[in-house]
């Protein structure tokens, strides 16, 4: 049977997408060879960034290991929507144990693979995955332990900024001012508190593990490349992917990619990679956009744009984005003339 590759053109960016890239660098959106580790038929919402991110991340890991990936999964949307009894989307060996122990379960799998020795399957690698709640809150102890021991695990966090599976509650990754079911848009300071933030990629870097990266579902090739790069290392690795959640953010399903791109282009979410605790590269922002462009379309920030817009709050968020741009050196150099 002849196979017609489906070309994948990215739109809405300053790049022209696949067309100008050499074939080996093109994304495998649709190919007979694609692993489809997470098969169709799962129950994610339309436009779910987490489903998209996981599909690309796991397939890239599969590609890097000749299809020898074992996954451990935390409780959360990804786990629930992918395994409605008696069905499963997973085409790879997959285990869900608990909400807060995924990094440790992955450590156990890696230990078993190691002790079983090279005799059995030297290529088999372990990927652990969880939502932001399962990673930055309840699973944080196990995650840090896994990092510190430098266990041979790639941990992927799908950050949608809240406990979505239980109905959109606040996690420590919920951004300031965002409305969730537990940070209501009422009172003198509606939405989430500003707090001090808890950016786990930076905490992962503080463990000096071999590889840490952030990514968004707006740049899927970048995400794939980072997963492939991560698989070149042995030891603990961490990829933190921003995955918009139409349900929790109050954004149209078709705008998931757009929201992820705006998070990056405003500096709200810095995209970079680091090796052994040092930043190696960043995805530069050509022309930083005002955070308002990112906030306004999302219902979780609707209270900032009422009759009297919360200018001070918006300015505060802008400051945080500007700080990211400075801190991570995100602003692309002006093009020379």
């Amino acid at each position: 049977m002849s196979f017609q590759p489906v070309k994948f053109y990215q739109t809405g960016t300053f790049t022209v997408g696949n067309r100008l890239l050499p074939p080996e660098e093109r994304s495998v959106q649709a190919s007979a060879k694609r692993f489809n580790s997470i098969n169709s038929g799962h129950r994610a919402c339309q436009g779910c960034g987490e489903a998209l991110g996981a599909r690309y991340a796991i397939d890239a890991a599969m590609e890097a290991t000749d299809g020898q990936v074992i996954a451990a999964n935390a409780t959360g949307c990804l786990e629930v929507f992918s395994t409605p009894y008696p069905e499963t989307s997973w085409q790879i060996p997959w285990i869900h144990s608990l909400f807060g122990n995924t990094a440790a379960v992955a450590t156990g799998i890696a230990a078993a693979l190691k002790v079983k020795g090279l005799s059995q399957n030297p290529k088999t690698r372990v990927v652990a995955q969880g939502g932001d709640g399962g990673t930055t809150d309840i699973g944080f102890g196990c995650l840090s332990g896994m990092f510190e021991r430098n266990d041979d695990v790639l941990y992927i966090c799908y950050d949608n900024g809240g406990y979505m599976n239980t109905g959109v509650q606040r996690s420590s990754a919920t951004p300031p001012a965002a409305r969730t079911a537990t940070t209501m848009a009422v009172g003198p300071e509606p939405g989430n508190v500003f707090g001090q933030g808890k950016f786990v990629p930076a905490i992962a870097m503080a463990h000096n593990i071999p590889y840490v990266a952030t990514a968004t579902v707006a740049d899927l090739r970048d995400l794939e490349a980072k997963v492939r790069r991560a698989m070149e290392f042995r030891g603990a690795r961490y990829i933190h992917i921003l995955v918009p959640c139409p349900l929790g953010w109050g954004t149209p399903s078709q705008d998931t990619i757009k929201m992820a791109r705006l998070a990056k282009e405003t500096g709200i979410f810095p995209v970079f990679e680091a090796e052994h605790g040092e930043i190696k590269s960043v995805l530069a922002i050509r022309r930083p956009l005002p955070v308002e462009d990112y906030l306004r379309p999302q219902k979780r920030y609707a209270h900032l744009f009422g009759k009297t817009p919360a200018l001070a709050t918006i300015a505060h968020i802008q400051e945080l984005a500007d700080r990211n741009i400075r801190k991570y050196g995100l602003q692309a150099r002006k093009e020379g003339h």
Partner: protein, 417 residues
């Protein structure tokens, strides 16, 4: 080979002979000597191939064991007390997933007030977790039970907890008969998992199950435990043929044949009880004891059979169901349903309170005259209790209970570690 050694060391050596492939370690007294000894064997290469992982919590210890068991490795850990509670969510998960992990619980009290000494509150808090629970009477039995535990766990695809009294057994230097590696190899076949994370044959483990099948999955866990009731006696018999001694099984009886009073207990206190029974027998008392080796699954039929000829049953236990009475005794009562006899619950030895022969003599004599309250707290200091109750009546802000009592006793609390 006969050997004079510490209980923890004996258990560690027995576990090592079972060739575990992944061991997760987290310190908590009185369990720590076991994993320390194992860690040394892994580090110096005596135990190989084996991964020894120093985890950051007991919750991680059990979770690592879940991962390694699911990936097909024979997995072991040990804990006690607060550690067992800290891992509780993963304890239930391991059995729910049907993973044959073996864990030693060096029985210790649960705080607050924090207390490092022995009782059975920790293991019994997990009685409905779906793990098999074996209780050792001696260090010999503790090490033997570990060998049987791996066999049982792997045959049933269920995790097994081997419980041994903290300090009383774990830290006691006693003579034990150490098996040889050849004997253990002959007894314990290679681990062949029923389910394994294998890229060659991918399965999903731990999927969401709704009301349409949840009851059935849970029933099967119960049915599996019922199977253990059949398996355990046959494994114990086989153990005897390979190792030449009786160890394990469902229960042990001692001088119960014509007994009118039968004591029921678990763990090392059985030794003291037997001594008292011997002395009372000499005086003509018809008294015996039933030791429970297998607490989960609870051998209802065997317990009933052993007790039904008695006039009275005294359950002496190192645990308490607060607001009810006893835990073990509630289980024993279920075995005796419909039988007419006196039943007494005695809570004893909580937090390491010594259970002396003298106290047991008094207790058993009272029981023999049916002069015992249905629920007795052995050697409870009523003065201390009443003093505190009066203090609470007198002052609204009467302060923290434990500290008040310590001040009343006038001794410094035992060092915690």
């Amino acid at each position: 080979m006969l050997k004079q050694t510490e209980g923890s060391r004996a258990v560690a050596e027995a576990v090592a002979m079972c060739r575990p492939e992944v061991i997760c370690a987290y310190p908590i007294s009185p369990q720590t000597h076991i994993v320390e000894a194992l860690g040394e064997m892994v580090k110096d290469g005596t135990l190989s191939p084996c991964e020894f992982i120093n985890v950051e919590s007991e919750f991680a210890a059990m979770s690592v064991a879940i991962g390694s068991a699911a990936a097909g490795a024979r997995s072991y850990t040990a804990t006690a007390s607060q550690g067992l509670l800290f891992m509780a969510e993963a304890v239930y998960n391991a059995s729910g997933l049907g993973l044959p992990i073996v864990m030693t619980v060096a029985n210790r009290a649960i705080g607050a007030p924090i207390n490092i000494w022995n009782d059975h509150s920790d293991a019994l808090s997990q009685r409905d977790s779906g793990w098999l629970q074996l209780f050792a009477e001696t260090n010999q039995e503790a090490l033997d039970l570990h060998i049987q535990a791996f066999r049982l766990a792997e045959e049933l695809s269920l995790p097994v907890m081997v419980c041994m009294d903290g300090f009383i057994l774990t830290h006691a230097y006693e003579r034990v008969d150490m098996p040889t590696q050849a004997q253990v190899d002959a007894y314990l076949p290679k681990y062949v998992p029923r389910q394994v994370l294998d890229p060659g044959e991918p399965v999903s483990i731990g999927a969401m199950v709704g009301p349409e099948a949840f009851m059935e999955v849970r029933y099967l866990a119960h049915a599996k435990q019922m199977e253990a009731l059949e398996l355990i006696p046959s494994y114990a018999a086989e153990f005897k043929s390979v190792f030449g001694r009786d160890s394990g099984g469902l229960t042990h009886t001692y001088r119960t044949e014509d007994a009118e009073t039968i004591i029921v207990a678990m763990g090392s206190v059985l030794g003291t009880i037997k001594d008292v029974i011997d002395e009372m027998r000499e005086e003509g008392h018809k008294i015996g004891v039933l030791g429970i080796t297998l607490f989960r699954p609870f051998p209802l039929a065997r317990v009933r059979e052993s007790l039904q000829g008695a006039k009275r049953v005294v359950v002496l236990e190192k645990s308490m169901a607060v607001g009810l009475g006893g835990i073990l005794s509630t289980n024993v009562r279920m075995a005796l349903s419909g039988l007419h006899m006196h039943g007494y619950t005695v809570i004893a030895g909580l937090g390491g309170r010594a259970i002396t022969k003298k106290s047991l003599h008094g207790l058993f004599r009272q029981a023999g005259q049916d002069a015992l309250e249905p629920l007795t707290f052995l050697d409870l200091d009523w003065n201390m209790v009443n003093k505190q109750l009066e203090r609470e009546k007198a002052h609204r802000r009467s302060g923290p209970v434990a500290e008040n009592l310590l001040r009343d006793v006038g001794v410094v609390a035992a060092r915690n570690y």
